[in-house]
């Protein structure tokens, strides 16, 4: 890379790229900026800006409907900014940078900041919404049928597809002949003229709803059982597929004591604002809590809670070993083969090369799964070929070795390719000169070839390290983090920090988003520090100043 070409000094005379002056960038009056507007350019501009306006209008309607004014403001400002930028003749660099930057901010910077903010809360299963949401959930889930409850005839309907659409209860009161539609949002009275009620009192048709037949309804019986329609005195729940009742909530919130009382047992659960849940005197917590800020609690938990910090530091150590091992072994093997094939007297190197790099061209996600099955204890290829009977993914170290072996297979063709490229760039005179001076092949390799190779490939090695540090696929598709210690199902021997986080956030143990994002932030910090240190030692850093 000829970095000197675009040095500020040499760019002095170039129109449109004068060196940065104090203050704002000012576009100079140059031929480039006053080039005539071509017809094609104008048409493209009009079409693209029209497209932007169209997308903005399309996106605006749902925002208005949801009364999402902040979002609407951002949308309007962005659109106006784009129009200003591309209609004016100034700010030329921005015209090239803004398209990518918008995506970067919306889809990468914003999620990262959002991640950071979630880390200070207890967000997760049982702590999703506000305190009011939690109270409603507690009350509706405690609904019981009591003597005197209103009974309804029930028809199951939906506003969407019968198999997946949101469910609605169509209810008719046999005594008063009133008809209602109810969903998780509450109960609404329907106009009797819009519905057809059969002789048995069941609603068979209703305007705007698709009534499910018996087969469709029984296919969604779990959704139907789970649907609770909140009402003033309690809630409506289904009883089978054709009857429903309005029951009374056994548990109710009392604002006076800021607690939930059970009217049957008399037990009370008092609100604990620090943890976002209702706690009884005996320590029992209600499953439904709410989201609160917990400050640095998640961070201290990662560092001090022995259930988490123990696995965290062990995992960190293995994470480094995995990234260094994956990069190092692939580099060593790839370089060794490249050196072996790099000889003027070798015939057929092209054939070798084409066959060697096939693993690199195969879809890696699928090959990882194939390797997983090749390490199968009972009928895996590896055990078959070598007559072994090892439970590869069952032992800590055999699992680690297996994972690194898979990484070696996937990664070495890439290292072979780049090492071949770098070797071809090293002038043959250099190695010849050392042999004339009486150096052994090994000495010439150590003193000339290897240093030159490392100079050329160190940015790649760093990038490969950073990539492997968070190589989710390599673990998730093979060992899935296992083997797990019997006393700790959350963290396995081959878990990387990122797969550990993935399990915390989405695993079967129940989602703990707050804790998971805290671990994410620790990973951010570690990768950034490693990257900063290594890049400060490479040429990439220098290019910035050119």
């Amino acid at each position: 890379m000829s970095t000197s070409l675009s040095g500020p000094g040499s760019a002095e005379q170039a129109p449109g790229r004068e060196p940065v002056r104090r203050g704002l960038p000012r576009t100079p009056r140059t031929a480039r900026n006053h080039a005539p507007i071509t017809a094609t350019g104008l048409v493209v501009k009009v079409v693209l800006l029209g497209l932007v306006a169209g997308i903005a209008i399309w996106a605006a309607f749902p925002l208005v409907e949801a009364e999402h004014w902040v979002g609407l403001g951002i949308l309007a400002a962005t659109t106006a900014g784009l129009f200003y930028l591309y209609l004016s003749r100034r700010h030329i660099p921005a015209k090239y940078l803004v398209p990518g930057t918008i995506f970067l901010i919306a889809c990468q910077v914003f999620p990262v900041l959002y991640t950071a903010s979630t880390a200070f809360t207890n967000f997760g299963d049982g702590h999703r919404g506000t305190k009011d949401d939690a109270i409603v959930a507690i009350q509706t889930s405690s609904v019981r049928q009591v003597p005197g409850s209103t009974e309804y005839s029930l028809s199951i309907a939906t506003t969407g597809d019968p198999a997946t659409g949101p469910l609605v209860f169509l209810l008719s009161d046999p005594k008063t002949r009133e008809v209602f539609a109810g969903d998780a949002g509450g109960l609404r009275k329907l106009d009797a003229g819009d519905v057809t009620v059969s002789a048995t009192g069941k609603i068979t048709e209703a305007a705007g709803y698709t009534v499910l037949n018996f087969g469709q309804a029984s296919g969604r019986s779990k959704d139907i059982t789970d649907l609770v329609v909140p009402t003033a005195g309690g809630a409506v729940r289904s009883n089978g597929l054709s009857r429903a009742y309005e029951g009374k909530a056994v548990r109710a919130y009392d604002a006076g004591c800021d607690c939930v009382k059970d009217s049957e047992t008399g037990k009370t659960w008092t609100a604990d604002p620090a943890n976002g849940s209702f706690v009884a005197a005996d320590g029992e917590r209600l499953a439904q809590g709410w989201k609160v800020n917990v400050g640095l609690k998640n961070f201290t938990r990662v560092l001090t809670d022995p259930d988490i910090s123990g696995p965290f530091f062990g995992t960190l150590l293995w994470n480094f070993a995995f990234a260094i091992g994956s990069t190092g072994f692939t580099f060593l093997l790839g370089m060794a083969i490249a050196l072996a094939l790099h000889s003027p007297r070798m015939r057929g190197t092209n054939v070798y090369r084409v066959l060697l790099i096939l693993p690199y061209a195969m879809p890696s996600f699928a090959m990882l799964l194939v390797w997983r099955d090749m390490f199968n204890t009972d009928f895996g290829l590896v055990n078959d070929l070598f007559g072994l009977h090892i439970d590869w993914f069952g032992g800590t170290w055999s699992a680690r070795i297996a994972v690194l072996l898979v990484q070696l297979w996937l990664g070495y063709p890439y290292m072979f390719l780049v090492a071949t490229g770098a070797l071809q760039a090293i002038p043959r005179e250099l190695t010849e000169a050392t042999s004339v001076d009486g150096a052994s092949p090994w000495q010439s390799f150590r003193a000339v070839t290897l240093p030159l190779l490392l100079v050329a490939l160190s940015p790649l090695l760093i990038a490969s390290f950073a990539y492997n540090f968070n190589n989710v696929n390599a673990i998730l598709f093979t060992t899935e983090g296992g083997p797990f210690a019997p006393d700790n199902p959350r963290n396995g021997a081959t878990d990387l920090l990122i797969t550990y986080t993935y399990r915390l956030a989405f695993g079967a143990q129940g989602a703990e988003y707050g804790l998971a994002t805290t671990v994410s932030i620790f990973i951010f910090a570690i990768v950034a520090i490693v990257a900063a240190i290594s890049f400060s030692r490479t040429r990439k850093q220098e290019e910035v100043y050119s």
């Binding site: 890379m1 004068e18 999402h68 660099p93 990262v112 190197t349 061209a361 996600f365 699928a366 050329a456």
Partner: protein
């Protein structure tokens, strides 16, 4: 490596001594080559054998093909929405890699040929952002897109567009540096003279710079393509309906539960997935070596 004397070549007759010499100079290189090829190919051979295995189970598959049946391939298309997955993946990866290459080429042009306030900060920020893999923020992305799905179902979960937008987010970080390097190597007299002749900055970019870096665009595009095909984590959170899945998500589901019985179908799918990439790979091989040495990483 090249220090072995050339004199030895002269007397390479049929004698045992010179055979030993031939081995010391060239033969061992072939041995290494053959061993490396064997290491590279045996898992692929296993996949081919599994795909052709009429029984289609993992336990009955051996390294060398035991039969030649296309049953696994027909099952793949009849029993799973593989054709959907294949099209989804091809389209998503194709469009996403093309668009992301274009976005980063635009940015690279600005960073390479223009001087403006914030250029250095911008370049350093991109370098750092590149180090932060997007999937670390997967929880946040999940929450954000829950809102987005509510507002605009057309770009929400189970659509390729939402996923496309997310892949675009990584475009600048991944390729701008590499492309800036290539733009830097083009002599700037080229675009200067065009400017003098009255070309606008857009004409310089589209008519002069882009054609000159076409090979490297092809290589980075291919790498981005492979990266999108293999992307699993975000797609897995995003796509839950059978027909909307990509190859990685769908095929993972195929062997997640029934790994023994579906293995033949899975192997057949693997081979079909590899066809487009292997073809383009062999075509672009010459460019790939130079493109990789300049700093591209398989994503």
């Amino acid at each position: 490596m090249t220090t072995l004397s050339d004199a030895a070549v002269a007397d390479r007759a049929g004698t045992g001594k010179s055979k030993g010499r031939w081995f010391a100079q060239v033969g061992w290189r072939h041995l290494v080559g053959v061993l490396a090829v064997a290491f590279s190919l045996f898992p692929i051979l296993f996949v081919i054998s599994a795909a052709l295995n009429p029984l289609g189970t993992l336990s009955s598959t051996e390294l060398l093909p035991t039969g030649a049946s296309l049953e696994n391939f027909t099952n793949l298309f009849q029993k799973t929405p593989f054709a959907h997955w294949f099209l989804n993946s091809l389209l998503l990866a194709g469009v996403a890699s093309f668009a992301s290459i274009f976005l980063s080429a635009l940015a690279a042009y600005a960073f390479s040929r223009m001087r403006f306030a914030g250029r250095r900060v911008g370049l350093l920020a991109l370098l750092l952002i590149q180090m932060f893999p997007q999937f670390l923020a997967i929880v946040a992305i999940f929450l954000i897109f829950t809102t987005v799905t509510g507002l605009w179902p057309a770009i929400g979960f189970n659509t390729p567009w939402g996923l496309f937008l997310l892949y675009m987010g990584t475009a600048l970080g991944a390729n701008t540096w590499l492309m800036k390097g290539f733009f830097d190597t083009l002599p700037k007299e080229l675009d200067e003279s065009a400017t003098m002749d009255g070309a606008s900055h857009a004409q310089v970019f589209f008519r002069i710079m882009l054609p000159l870096v076409a090979p490297i665009l092809a290589v980075t595009g291919l790498l981005a393509f492979i990266g999108s095909i293999n992307e699993f984590i975000i797609a897995n959170v995003f796509l839950t309906e059978p027909d909307s899945k990509t190859l990685a998500v769908g095929m993972f589901g195929m062997v997640a539960g029934e790994r023994n019985n579906n293995f033949g179908m899975f192997a057949a799918g693997t081979l079909l997935t590899a066809v487009p990439t292997v073809l383009v790979f062999q075509l672009l091989q010459r460019y790939i070596v130079s493109g990789l040495t300049a700093g591209a990483v398989k994503g």
